[in-house]
Symmetry: C2
């Protein structure tokens, strides 16, 4: 009971911002004395600290502000994607403590070599934490794959060419050799799932309990928040929306089938429609964000082929989105990956198609938003998830010796 009240106060402080004990008392319904006692324990555990004194508010004794102490605890998010690995550390206030991205051709290397690179990266994140006085409370790997989160195994990652790779065990073993131990839990999850959690926790649509996140890169992935909780499915394989069969007899997909949504709205589909194969924007060895900038430039300049391509892709995006909206009835649909970069040209045809396709009036009152977290959404979500353990049970943070 005390545990859940500690969590209640800590969460309230994170969600609602710094405030006095008296205000916490009113807003949580707990007794003022109780709040004092809880806050004292949270301070002992280094999760919270006294802040400024509220001056000049109104009549009466000013309140002593209580705020999250970011230096106490951190969460680590690590992303392994097709052409890079990245690490990011957040403190309790969701402030970035460390961020690094390393270009790496993951497809061309065995998983062991990739895990070695991730180990190097993580060790640097660790060192940074130690320097800043942040104690890591957990770490989450984000991978574009079907993931068994319980065992920490990647079951199948088509775009990485991985099958049955025990990533958690592999990483923990390496970190143990390097650092002598990993004193916190390590998890893996699907990148779109974590990106959805990231958008939900700190994106432009933060706090929207019913949210669908779409990531558009080589593949098309989905992460779904249902009533404020992540949809995982029975085996953790939910959100595989790239292979919805929307165009029978259509183009061949990388998965071997025909007419998958991915063949209509994936990056390859856009490039095929917008450029000839010898066009530099189709060169996969160039940086993706720069290639997208070129396309955006052409669209801005009014290039008809580019605009037609974006119109077609946008319409196809609306077609698939209408299914997701009919099925989930989300409050908002967040576009990530390249969909966000080119969103201004995709939105109009997408919304037109959606309005005609969704059964509920006014497209179920669903908004479409562009991701504000960009390509870091997944690692931010992973770091955030690692912090959740502390917010669920603040007693996992050890009591500190008095100064």
């Amino acid at each position: 009971m005390r545990r859940s009240n500690l969590a209640l106060v800590l969460r309230h402080l994170r969600d609602a911002g710094p405030r006095s004990r008296a205000r916490i008392s009113v807003e949580t319904g707990l007794n003022r004395g109780t709040v004092s006692s809880l806050v004292a324990e949270l301070i002992e555990r280094g999760l919270v600290r006294d802040g400024d004194v509220q001056r000049g508010g109104s009549v009466g004794r000013p309140g002593q502000t209580v705020e999250l102490d970011g230096r106490g605890i951190g969460g680590i998010g690590v992303e392994i994607n097709v052409d890079y690995v990245a690490a990011l550390v957040l403190d309790l206030t969701d402030t970035v403590v460390f961020e690094e991205r390393v270009a790496l051709d993951v497809q061309a290397r065995p998983p062991e070599a990739v895990l070695d690179a991730v180990t190097d990266l993580t060790a640097r994140a660790f060192a940074e934490c130690a320097g800043a006085g942040v104690t890591p409370a957990g770490m989450t790997l984000a991978i574009p794959a079907l993931v068994d989160t319980d065992s920490g195994v990647v079951a199948f990652a088509p775009n990485l060419h991985w099958t049955k790779v025990a990533v958690v065990a592999g990483l923990v073993a390496r970190l143990t050799r390097r650092l002598g131990g990993v004193p916190f839990p390590v998890r893996v999850d699907n990148d779109a799932n974590l990106a959805a959690l990231g958008e939900f926790a700190m994106g432009g649509e933060a706090g929207t309990a019913d949210l669908v996140y779409l990531t558009g890169e080589t593949g098309v992935g989905g992460g779904v928040m249902v009533d404020g909780r992540l949809l995982r499915g029975a085996e953790g394989f939910s959100g595989e929306i790239g292979h919805m069969p929307l165009n029978p007899g259509g183009n061949l997909c990388g998965c071997g089938r025909r007419g998958c949504w991915e063949t209509m709205v994936g990056l390859a589909a856009l490039l095929r429609l917008a450029a000839t194969p010898d066009d530099p924007v189709c060169d996969p060895s160039l940086d993706l964000e720069q290639r997208l900038a070129v396309i955006r430039g052409r669209a801005q300049a009014g290039d008809p082929r580019t605009l037609d391509a974006l119109d077609l892709v946008g319409t196809a995006l609306g077609l698939g989105a209408s299914i997701l909206i009919n099925v989930f009835n989300p409050r908002v649909l967040v576009l990530g990956g390249y969909f966000a970069s080119l969103g201004e040209y995709l939105l109009e045809p997408m919304l037109g198609e959606m309005r005609g396709r969704v059964v509920a009036p006014d497209a179920g009152a669903c908004r479409v938003a562009l991701s504000t977290l960009g390509f870091a959404a997944a690692s931010r979500g992973g770091a955030h998830v690692a912090l959740e353990a502390v917010l669920d049970d603040p007693t996992v943070a050890a009591v500190r010796h008095r100064a």
Copy 2:
């Protein structure tokens, strides 16, 4: 805190069956003395009673069995569908206390007349409860519609031709006039949602936390259980799967669009494929279950046109199902409505298509099951939901005077 422990014990008794206080203690982790105290209060409230003494088990004093007292509390489920209205009462043990179905051409009548008929039916259910000593704790209406559950209004029911009908207010007003008051909450919900809850609570796949229910009648509806909770969506409009655009340029749908899944697997699609328009099985004035029996008979006799039709519909069923499985990764997909009646002929082509379409290996380990609750799934689910209020907070059941 006491409230949640009361609920814990009551739920455990319902889910795990009758057992002694000592066993409840070890299974819930509560202290033996605490369990005794909680059980005493539940008995006072008429929710639970002492049952048989456990004899001949093993060494030691035999335990005094505690079991749910069905006579205490009941839940009422009412369904309004295209050609009938039905009412059903369940007691705490999910045993049917009352069940009645009345044929009614709902499309041909104004909503007011339908609510009058429902009022008559409900009054009979009420009388039956009074006779059996069952106190109704709640009532739920199941309707094939987009429903605003908060306000109790049907927003849009294409198959009933209803728009913005305040069903809860209308029914409560009528019942108040008839009976002088409605001393319990009345809710509305989508029929597929309630059927999914019914299957989850007491169907052949009861307890499966990740479950998708498909209802095949004139329309195709879906209800989804995610991690043991019903998916509702931001506006309560989730599960509208009948209008997924799977066949661009296909047949015209009742919704005005082309190529909806419903045009491939709805009852009309099967009839069009399996019979000529003048065939009696296409006559909507005949009883649906009898027409389905005729089709089943033809299939059993090996009629090639019927078998081809079932094969085509089964394949299309698998196509749409593969989307739902990719999106939700459920443990089981339950087929209701006519899909259940003709399931033995639909399953094989459906499973073949699914296996080829689902990204996760082995179709995400998703089973396909036929509904065991038949056309009563929705009203059973509604009655069950009405009981949930008591299981969440047993103190809503009044303390009874001692005998």
